[in-house]
Subunit: 161 residues, 2 copies
Amino acid sequence: MSAAGTGQVAANGILERTVEAIRTHGGRVTPSRLAVIAAIVDSEGHVSAEEIFERIQASSPDIHLSTVYRTLEALEKLGVVEHVHLGHGRAIYHLEENLHQHLVCESCGTIIEAPHDLTERLEMELEARLGFFTRAHHFSIIGLCRECHRREQGGGSTSPD
Amino acid sequence: MSAAGTGQVAANGILERTVEAIRTHGGRVTPSRLAVIAAIVDSEGHVSAEEIFERIQASSPDIHLSTVYRTLEALEKLGVVEHVHLGHGRAIYHLEENLHQHLVCESCGTIIEAPHDLTERLEMELEARLGFFTRAHHFSIIGLCRECHRREQGGGSTSPD
DNA sequence: ATCCCTGCAAAATATTTGCACTGAT
DNA sequence: ATCAGTGCAAATATTTTGCAGGGAT
């Protein structure tokens, strides 16, 4: 898909709103930032800083990894993206708009997106009983997907993570 | 009744069972391992590898940090401890027995232990509807504790994690 | 012209690993 | 006597930061 510019879909509105948000906050709209935002919007999923970096490299080889990190930090401060730690290693970034829970299989690494209604009740209870306000979009649940669960039942010691 | 004449508390059973588990698996019971196990049992909470290391330093200054990591890895393989990633930075370790959910405040870092019953229903639903088996003890929920939530409501800086 | 953003390198943080030696069994 | 475990140093992996120059406004 050609991104930035033609058949604008809903997603592209994000790019425009982001650009405006940057300006509103006295920031500067640079090629690097546009590239990072485009990469995230384009991926429409969960991408690590390094994955974003790699995507960008194809078209803009001079954008440095540290710039990606700094841009992500800036975007997070603007509320455009949010990062989540999915266990070991890298954090992944996704659009703040894209509200959902991440279920991470600790065996194969698969990420399942659970509909929000599944966790809504839990969130309300946590709030009512413990005064804890869940940041839904920053909340990942670790466990085993169907296949890995079956495999481990059968008995084999895997245990990565 | 059970325990031999010494004033054994429930927690001490863990140490003994662990020692036995190590032997059963052809491992060796060394001062380093005993120290690490003792430190975890003693802390009865959430400790990072480095915190365990520091606790041990007092009495056994020659135990190296890498030994702590390797011991923790071994203990995890034996099913004695489990580690959880609570967001940025360090992982924390706790006894496998000590089953509970960790609620982590992303602002102040406070860890709240939620009773298991709160999340039981969610776990059942995830299993029934998505075929996802939550590893309860490896599951942390990120959000804001009461105080930080109120403070952020009042307006102010965004922040850490 | 300002000063935010960037490239680059080096630091910081967290964890792992190669190697030779020591100690538990 | 064996070989798992350890100390130590160096390597990894991920993210952050200091500095000086460049580009957006």
